[in-house]
Symmetry: C2
Amino acid sequence: MLTKQEHEIYCVANGAVVTPKGFKAAGVHAGLRYIKKDLGVIVCDVPASCAAVYTQSHFQAAPLKVTQESIAVEQKLQAIVVNSACANACTGEQGLKDAYEMRELCALQFGLPSHYVAVASTGVIGEFLPMEKIREGIKKLQPSVTEESAHAFQTAILTTDTVMKQACYQTTIEGKTVTIGGAAKGSGMIHPNMATMLAFITTDANISSPVLQEALRSITDLSFNQITVDGDTSTNDMVVVMASGLAETTELTPRHPEWNKFYDALKKTCEDLAKQIAKDGEGATKLIEVRVSGAVTDDDAKRIAKQIVGSNLVKTAVYGADANWGRIIGAIGYADATVNPDCVDIALGDIVMLKASEPQPFSEEEATAYLQNHEIMIHVDLHLGNGTGVAWGCDLTYDYVKINASYRT
Amino acid sequence: MLTKQEHEIYCVANGAVVTPKGFKAAGVHAGLRYIKKDLGVIVCDVPASCAAVYTQSHFQAAPLKVTQESIAVEQKLQAIVVNSACANACTGEQGLKDAYEMRELCALQFGLPSHYVAVASTGVIGEFLPMEKIREGIKKLQPSVTEESAHAFQTAILTTDTVMKQACYQTTIEGKTVTIGGAAKGSGMIHPNMATMLAFITTDANISSPVLQEALRSITDLSFNQITVDGDTSTNDMVVVMASGLAETTELTPRHPEWNKFYDALKKTCEDLAKQIAKDGEGATKLIEVRVSGAVTDDDAKRIAKQIVGSNLVKTAVYGADANWGRIIGAIGYADATVNPDCVDIALGDIVMLKASEPQPFSEEEATAYLQNHEIMIHVDLHLGNGTGVAWGCDLTYDYVKINASYRT
């Protein structure tokens, strides 16, 4: 089932990382966790162009270092192996050794050069990978193109996420269908860990690695980098894209007449996954979307949007269905961006609360009713220029505190 | 009762803003709130040298503008009038007019030029001051030097703070006693508002306004600017110091041989108030102090300390008595500072958890017991240089969510 989007981008219902041509997936229970699947793989039929972005944390976990090394060799990937339950972060020499071995095992299993394999981990910090389980688990990986295998992969990468995250978009380039599929995990807590975000994207687009890298970097800034659950950044965050080229168009570059279709489809996939992550933030009951317009620059707008959606006071107000625009003003107030304090508009959905920085009369009842929705939209217009930006987050609830305070009690 | 501190600084138990020579205070119920006192004043017998620092928010409330105007004229103040319940923020022209009138009324009441009067407000954003009540209230202000009147002032400036904040330190300069007293309010929530921090400090030191301003700015960066309750900054934050000069020493400047005593006493007063504010953060059950050493610069150390103490994941872990050093690593990881990820030490109180970035064995039981305390100390050593920094905050609890989500339900 397809739903039409802007630029003739179609959303593929139930589409996943196996939908683009050339990709298979698998997920198994390797015993790192008690019952749930905990080890997954995506394999491509051919060496794929690739791109990746990584956490900005000073402490990059071992698998990120190994993945960067793999990509550096030829800028090609053919498999990504991922485990949950253990982040393999802050594990020193041994951790690096384990990540290399995990890569090697995956390469052997699928008959690939080891530098065609990327490695990702999420879970406990400061503990070593249980390599015996990883060794046995990798042997059990039997990738296929079925919806079931995509689900198995999507499940294997989760920690305390409450739902799987998948997205798939299609467009037509040179009359041929180009597909992009993605899987992600969001903020989950396994002691002692912090939120980790992982996203794996596949596409059959014909595109070189440098061009894909450039597109991914710019799109990440508009999607994954614009979500916040609690302002904390993990040691393991990573987004990896593989492009098989099997859609068989001519090579896509920004000079290709239909480039925008590919770019927008990739953006749509990332945005969709990002929103799913935000919505499934720990303890969250509501997705909050903040749209800022009229900023001097897009960067200013993005910064302000993220500041608002990251404010604990805004997040608790949304949880409590309290139309508390003073807290939005507060969050705008300390953003590192150009603001004229006398000409700000704020609206909650369609309800205008502030116009040219003057409070507007509104129906409290209507506002409270609006805030009962599961998706809340906050609009801010700064009336200074043409800069726009969007950010996504979630409300701050009792359950956030519960999940993060009482995990071990 | 005096307690000795470093540099012969003594803590004066029960000392307050009326303890330094030349200062009186008062606080009354003007009817802005239902029952509690809501209007207060500090008056000096003489025109006092003064210094002030203000919120960095783009939206500075009207009273801050008026106070800045007052000080600009002669750099002297003789009275500070403060109301709670209404912040007089985002109130446009009318708000500014009201703040001027409040200043004027106070000047008339005490026979002062209006530019000797500072104005401060805290409470609801976007509502006008109930001027009739302010007018009547100011007439009732009868400042005196009693402990009772200091308490009345301290109470009048609170919003949902659960306790009064006062501090007083003394030192001896040229054989004469120099006293510094302070009152503060912290994060309280009155709909629709965000945390506001106000601090009023009095001293009988003989010091010029520019020198005092310089000292206040540097000390604020080490005290009030190093606390965080929820990362939100108010439109109304302000710290004001008045110096009567009545201790009758020669004029204090950094070249005075006993300058450090004055500086340290002022710092001690600000730090003490800052810690009281952090400890009484909304819903807080514990004060968290983070000490960072071995940074390349003091700024790096301060930034990292504040990042740790501001992390929701660290705050919830402390609430849940969970010795979760992975979250501290997470917070250090995204600090904008120089960090070598291979040589970080982390300790919780005296319990070493990480040494040269390697996890250390420790007793979970002992760590959990330590985290039951009401004051929690986190030490981080970066082993890079001599930079040090401290920050204070509080745990994130169910009550924080309750106070901020369910205020209107």
